[in-house]
């Protein structure tokens, strides 16, 4: 017995330098195949490469809302594949850069991976308060450089939005990054070449509701923004242009004065004044509707300073205020909404639809149809060739494409299915448009957990991802390999000179070795 014990002790001592432990198994969370085959297949491509590095990996597809819950609300994951859609207001780098801010690492917020870098946070505050656009750009570029070396998140790829329109009916259809054809500009720019002067859009999605104080979906707002004006609109090149505002003048760092255009009216004929602007912002700030909260957060108060002038007092300098806040908040008529105390309780029949936009609301038949007529009294009306906009609601993308083929609709509101693209390309009546997206699919590592708490592991695992192959195989080449959270198509803000983590298994192994990892006799990663 005694001899046996000492034998064991001896063996223990003679083991290689330090006893190494196997790296714990990891799980990749992704969507189900039926929800999104791309993210599902992508997870398996990554898992395969990681196994090659000796990691014990399993893929766990999950129902989408459950996946969101595990990722955001519970932060209970090792690594998760998800995406951010490229909404136009996210072209300003504020939102995407914020997803790596440590103050957003709490449960339910936008930094579930828990990246925590004081330098990065300081830069984030600095760029948010920087009014000089070039100085701000330098800060934004530096932020991308700072975080990339740590790879808390891997931007896998940007998928092109492939949409189509019928060229025998309309021309001058200019797709917009992140929006495709269903932007607010396409109906304003489209030129009819056939007999019909109403633009017919078709899509499988419809608004959740059209209550500007209850809708929480992109599809609600994509429709409503056509009949509500904003102070500023983002141009097709995504530059903020004064819209209902004639001028936006910063008085100082925290005070901004907006001068309205002259002679604007609502669709019911009532004049649009500075009172309406102040009312709208105050109404939103006092309401329980939280969809715009992040846009409204910098505002301390709004005051009417003249018939056509409004003054915004901010609590701190905010660079995105003029681009995002002013371009996203719709102008509501005070004479209608001031009489509504609980706007969230309005039934569909009670919801006011009076705006001042270039189009006026006509009808909305749930599940079937929506339409707008061109507002000939609008200051932009002379530029608009169509007499109205119609939206047909279909049950799925198949129905939309059939209607496009039969000429029942003129354009698709949402991307086509991969199988439909070659069919559309083969059809002379249809023009296929491919728009790069600045939204992205990402894999986020949980930095609170082993082995992802180790920077070297994250770097190695990122080098093991063949993202080029993912774009070619999964997206059929219709997309771009990801770099930073600010997409290359967002050229002004994107920093092209960051570490790129090209696919390189040898480099990945070297990175691991250098950090003290090794492989056991069966090739399993240990430390």
């Amino acid at each position: 017995m005694l001899a046996g014990t000492s034998m064991l002790a001896l063996v223990g001592v003679s083991a290689p330098a330090i006893a190494q432990e196997r790296v714990a198994p990891v799980e990749i969370f992704t969507t189900t195949e039926s929800y999104d085959p791309i993210r599902y297949e992508g997870a398996f491509i990554i898992a395969e490469a990681w196994r090659e590095l000796g990691l014990d990996v399993s893929v766990r597809p999950m129902e989408f809302s459950t996946l969101l819950d595990r990722f955001y609300s519970e932060q209970d994951f090792d690594a998760t594949i998800l995406g951010w859609s490229g909404r136009v207001d996210r072209l300003d780098p504020q939102f995407f850069l914020g997803t790596l801010d440590s103050r957003q690492a709490e449960l339910g917020a936008n930094n579930p991976g828990g990246y925590d870098n004081p330098d990065y946070d300081a830069l984030y505050d600095a760029q948010g308060a920087e009014f000089d656009i070039e100085a701000r750009r330098d800060l934004v570029h530096e932020m991308q450089d700072v975080y990339m070396g740590d790879v808390p998140v891997v931007v896998l790829f940007h998928r092109d939005e492939v949409v189509a329109y019928n060229n025998t009916q309309f021309t001058n259809m200019n797709a917009m990054a992140g929006e495709g054809l269903y932007s607010e500009w396409v109906p304003m720019e489209a030129e009819p070449v056939g007999d019909r002067t109403t633009l017919r859009i078709g899509g499988p999605q419809e608004p959740d509701n059209i209550n500007p104080l209850a809708s929480t979906s992109v599809w609600g707002w994509k429709w409503m923004r056509m009949y509500y004006d904003r102070l500023v609109r983002l141009s097709p090149d995504v530059e903020p242009v004064p819209w209902a505002a004639e001028r936006v003048d910063p008085v100082d760092d925290v005070t901004i004065e907006v001068t309205l255009r002259e002679g604007m009216t609502f669709h019911d004929g009532e004049p649009l004044t500075a009172e309406d602007i102040a009312f709208t912002f105050n109404y939103y700030m006092d309401s329980e509707y939280s969809y715009f909260n992040s846009y409204l957060a910098p505002i301390e108060s709004v005051e009417v300073t003249g018939d056509r002038t409004v003054r915004f007092n901010l609590s701190e300098p905010s660079a995105p205020f003029a681009t995002i806040t002013l371009s996203q908040i719709p102008i509501l008529p005070a004479h209608i909404w001031s009489e509504i105390d609980n706007p969230q309780d309005l039934t569909p029949e009670q919801i006011p639809t009076v705006g001042s936009g270039p189009f006026a609301f006509e009808r909305y038949d749930r599940g079937e149809f929506m339409s707008l007529t061109t507002n000939r009294d609008h200051f932009h009306a002379d530029e608009i060739s169509v007499d109205g906009v119609e939206f047909q609601i279909f049950a799925d993308a198949e129905g939309v494409f059939t209607a496009l083929q039969t000429g029942e609709i003129d354009m698709t509101a949402w991307r086509m299915e991969p199988g439909q693209i070659p069919l559309a390309e083969g059809n002379d009546d249809l023009t296929v448009v491919s728009v790069p997206d600045f939204g992205y699919f990402h894999m986020t590592y949980n930095l609170r957990r082993e082995p992802f708490d180790d920077r070297a592991v994250r770097r190695a695992l990122t080098m093991a991802m063949d993202r080029e192959r993912m774009v070619n195989v999964l997206l059929d080449g219709r997309g771009e390999v990801g770099t930073t959270v600010v997409a290359p198509v967002n050229a002004y803000w994107h920093n092209p000179f960051v570490e790129r983590f090209e696919y390189d298994m040898d480099a990945a192994r070297a990175e691991l070795e250098e950090a003290g990892y090794s492989w056991d006799s069966e090739g399993r990663l240990q430390r």
């Binding site: 809302s65 339910g108 917020a109 969809y291 569909p348 009808r363 049950a395």
Partner: protein, 325 residues
């Protein structure tokens, strides 16, 4: 047992089943489906903002209180407000149910109207080539998935020949003064033909085969022998004696089919973009719209239970051998 006590007993049973189903639905959705505000995360809402939305939906209340509220409201035919549409659920459900039922009932009437006599006729010609072809066609449409037959129909008659519309139940936009005004139009008929035919062809197999097989059983009965011995014409034996006796299983099948029709044929509603209840249920479950999902499923259950009850009562008339014991 008298007819009245039997009826009372059955009605109580039906109400009890409905209560059980309502309870299961309530808890199943809350435990099985994700938080209805989960989708708001991708819109950039933080935890606090989501909690505010949850409170608006009444989801922050204790579960038992939500349950009691749901039951008391359901008893009064009130199902609350849809989370995503922000509209009264009953309004949405009744409208959608109408759209679904008109499609399904038309298809069922067509399928049974043709299937029953055809099945009887095939049994009479049993073993012949007609019989073989009839069975083959019935089985074929019964086994062909409707999304496929539907898409082929759209491709051929909608896109290729352009004689029928490919989606919706009316040419858009349309104004209708209520449901009847919407459906009593040629435009509606034109839109309904393809989907109704697709569903009818799918349903045709059941009455056809059930009728044919039951008829064959009935032919072996003594009373048919008796009728033949009396020298009655074959046609009379077939339709007056045999067919009437073979109807019972078909009636059962019919009741079940109508009951389940409330749920619609989701596949057909999607393929033809028909604004029916099936499509709505799918959306409700997808977005965790609890009030809408609960109401839809409860109404479907009520349909099945009520029709089963009706059939049991109808049986006593159709077949005097079945009594209230």
């Amino acid at each position: 047992m008298t007819r009245r006590t039997y009826l009372i007993k059955r009605v109580i049973q039906a109400i009890f089943s409905l209560w059980i189903i309502a309870t299961i639905l309530f808890f199943l959705f809350r435990m099985g489906l994700p938080d209805p505000t989960a989708a708001l995360i991708t819109e950039g809402l933080n935890a606090e903002q989501r909690a505010a939305v949850r409170a608006q939906f009444g989801l922050e209340d204790p579960l038992w209180r939500q349950y009691v509220l749901f039951l008391t409201n359901a008893v009064q035919g009130e199902f609350g407000t849809s989370f995503s549409y922000r509209a009264p659920v009953s309004e949405i459900v009744w409208e959608r149910l109408g759209n679904t039922m008109i499609l399904m009932l038309a298809a069922i009437v067509l399928a049974y109207g043709i299937g029953v006599p055809l099945g009887a006729w095939l049994s009479w010609r049993r073993g012949s080539r007609t019989d073989t072809v009839g069975i083959f066609v019935g089985l074929m449409f019964r086994s062909a998935p409707m999304f496929w037959t539907g898409m082929i129909a759209i491709l051929v008659f909608g896109v290729g020949l352009s004689i029928f519309p490919t989606s919706g139940m009316r040419t858009l936009p349309y104004d209708a003064d209520g449901f009847l005004d919407k459906i009593f139009t040629l435009d509606f008929l034109w839109h309904a033909i393809l989907p109704v035919l697709i569903v009818a062809l799918y349903y045709l197999g059941s009455p056809l085969l059930i009728m044919r097989n039951t008829m064959l059983e009935v032919y072996g009965e003594d009373f048919i022998e008796m009728a033949r011995a009396k020298g009655l014409p074959e046609r009379d034996i077939l339709y007056k004696h045999a067919a009437r006796n073979a109807l019972l299983p078909v009636v059962t099948q019919l009741a079940v089919t109508i009951g389940l029709a409330a749920g619609g044929q989701v596949v057909v509603e999607v393929v033809f973009s028909w604004p029916g209840l099936g499509r709505e249920i799918l959306n409700a479950v997808r977005t965790s719209d609890f009030p809408l999902a609960q109401a839809s499923f409860l109404i479907m259950a009520a349909f099945v239970i009520t029709l089963n009850l009706l059939v049991d009562i109808l049986y006593t008339t159709l077949d005097p051998r079945v009594s209230f014991r």
